[in-house]
């Protein structure tokens, strides 16, 4: 069994004048391990290799990266899903500034998340106990609240690549709809009026890369369509 050939994006701005690809030979002993395990094996060969990871089970969203051209979480992506011809190419999430190797600056991504005000807003007096929802109202949040903000979707979206300062991006819009759809939130019209410009929502061109890469199987394109429907209903 030949070793897995891995090509990894390397860039240390303090010592490298330009990014380059480094080749590794990794002996997986024929096992179908996760891409994150391969990264750890490479780190044993070269301890300078930098990447983010934390929970290693697809919950924290730290190790989003581009594996053989497709974004995903390294910790829950088995080699058999991505490796072709015994070769694996690993690059950082596209479109964000690289801090070092596989580590990107998520500042723009979080700025867009912050802009949609991702918290419940309710201007009515707080009840003695919690604000109740019917099971049907609660059902509307399914497929929205599960997002872990790994940024796989937004960094695979060409509209986000070209206008990351203005287009909220699929992750932010999925969360935006999560609060628009929440029966306990009363800031609906303020939220909508912050989204009706030509960029924030409408720069979505329905490419659906977000749906194709989401490691949690969520559908930001559907949420964006629902936001459009709400904007239309509100303004006509």
């Amino acid at each position: 069994m030949s070793n897995l050939q891995v090509s990894v994006y390397r860039y240390n701005p303090e010592t490298d004048s330009a990014p380059y690809m480094q080749e590794f030979q990794v002996d997986t002993k024929g096992r179908d391990v996760m891409v994150l395990d391969v990264l750890h094996m490479m780190k044993e060969q070269d301890s300078g290799l930098a990447f983010r990871r934390s929970c290693r089970e697809g919950v924290c969203g730290s190790d989003g990266m581009n594996m053989n051209g497709k974004n995903g979480l390294a910790c829950i992506t088995p080699l058999s899903d991505v490796v072709k011809n015994n070769k694996l190419t690993l690059r950082p999430l596209p479109g964000l500034p690289v801090i070092r190797d596989m580590v990107v600056d998520m500042g723009l991504f979080y700025k867009q998340y912050e802009r949609i005000q991702p918290y419940l807003q309710n201007d009515t007096p707080a009840p003695a106990i919690e604000r109740l929802q019917s099971p049907e109202e609660r059902d509307k949040l399914d497929g929205l609240y599960e997002c872990i903000l790994c940024a796989c979707c937004s960094t695979s979206c060409p509209s986000f690549w070209w206008n990351p300062e203005k287009f909220v991006g699929p992750a932010g819009l999925l969360q935006s709809y999560r609060f628009l759809a929440d029966s306990r939130d009363t800031a609906t019209s303020e939220r909508l009026s912050n989204l009706e410009d030509p960029f924030s929502v409408f720069r979505c061109r329905g490419i659906m890369n977000c749906v194709a890469v989401c490691p949690k199987g969520l559908n930001p394109t559907r949420a964006i369509g629902k936001i459009r429907e709400m904007l239309l209903a509100d303004a006509t």
């Binding site: 509209s159 070209w162 206008n163 989204l195 410009d197 030509p198 960029f199 924030s200 409408f202 720069r203």
Partner: protein
Amino acid sequence: MVTNITSFGRSGLSDWLMQRFSAVILALYTVFIVAFLLFNPNLDYYAWSGLFSQTWMRIFSLLAFVAIAAHAWIGLWTVTTDYLKSTRLRVGAQAVIILGIFVYLVWGIQILWGA
């Protein structure tokens, strides 16, 4: 706050709606013209000018011209804001596009009512 002063309707929602309405109008116009050409294989000048001398055809054509003007403005504005990052280049391209659309629209009206 995201601003936009050179987009067609100054609002993403109205641009989006206009883009879809104009697409439907253009699709109907295209289907009609293609069908007309198919059903009139020996088309001569009199049949063609006869079609365009009718008021409903002039209204339909003008509607299609206005639709393509709006559609092109919205679509190309989007393209320029995606790909042209230099402000000077982008505003210049937008000015040329809007001017071109205006010229074609007036020229189209002249053709419709000039004959």
